[in-house]
């Protein structure tokens, strides 16, 4: 079960610049911390975040261990046509999580 919160306005005017917020539950384990027994906690971070608008990539980010746990990213998009905005997060463990939201443009 993906635990992600995405905020996309439901309705926008054509050409309007809308703010998008995306947050996902992830420890963003840096690889620089020790566990209770002194052993290294292995690195596990989300490396890449992408956002597509009706299938076309419109925003992406490469993340490093200095991005906080449960990463939050806010950015803007031009509302062009009605459709779906998809979000994908990929981590070190090879796990990919997704979320999506619909937008109506008029």
């Amino acid at each position: 079960m993906a635990r992600a919160l995405v905020n996309v306005p439901k309705v926008a005017r054509q050409g309007e610049v809308v703010e998008i917020k995306a947050m996902i539950a992830h420890p963003m384990e840096t690889g620089y911390r020790s566990g209770p027994n002194g052993s290294n906690i292995p690195r596990d971070i989300i490396r890449r975040f992408t956002c597509t608008y009706n299938g076309e990539e419109v925003f992406s980010a490469d993340l490093f261990p200095a991005v906080s746990a449960n990463p939050f990213i806010a950015f803007t998009l031009v509302a062009t046509t009605s459709g779906t905005i998809d979000f994908t997060w990929s981590d070190d463990a090879g796990k990919t999580q997704t979320a999506s939201a619909d937008i109506t443009v008029n």
Binding site: A66, V67, V78
Partner: protein
């Protein structure tokens, strides 16, 4: 303490359990630097080196970018940052990438954001980790190949009652 050039890391919480400042200095003085330190402590590129890698050596100009970072941070585990670049964000003239770098974390890179004309505005916000008080730099790459930057510094206060006393 903040001027100390050898102070790689000495704050609790974020990267708790790593080599402390005293231990670092002691190791340095006895010539055991390379074997007693974790890889990153020696290998981390400087802030300027990291920026140079991002720009490919191109000249970085001041301006056209604004980096919002709170000057006083309650907890370095989640520091809100917003970067805004001045750009019309058209097909011909837009921001391609915005990168964020730090001065004193174990790794210099924080994040690289890929934008384009469809972004509408060159504005991104995120939350970052700051291991200690330090400088943060944002660099924007424009579609004409020019690089612009802005820097800000934050004081990270130490939490009083932390769970992990190591």
């Amino acid at each position: 303490m903040h001027e100390d050039p050898l102070r790689v890391y000495a704050g609790p919480g974020v990267y708790a359990g790593m080599v402390g400042r005293r231990q670092f200095l002691r190791a340095g003085m006895t010539g055991l630097l390379a074997i007693s330190l974790p890889r990153w402590a020696v290998a981390r590129p400087s802030l300027e080196e990291a920026i140079r890698t991002f720009t490919g050596g191109a000249n970085v100009l001041d301006g056209r970018v604004r980096l919002d970072l709170p000057p006083l941070v309650e907890n370095g585990n989640a520091v809100g940052v917003t970067i805004v670049a001045e750009s019309p964000m058209t097909e011909d003239d837009h921001v391609r990438r915005i990168a964020v770098f730090n001065e004193k974390n174990p790794e210099a890179n924080v994040a690289v954001f890929h934008l384009g004309a469809r972004s509408g505005r060159a504005m991104v916000s995120t939350r970052i980790r700051l291991a200690t008080s330090q400088v943060v730099v944002a660099v924007a790459e424009m579609s004409d190949g020019s690089f612009w930057s802005s820097r800000a510094s934050a004081i990270v206060t130490l939490a009083a009652c932390i769970e992990d006393l190591s």
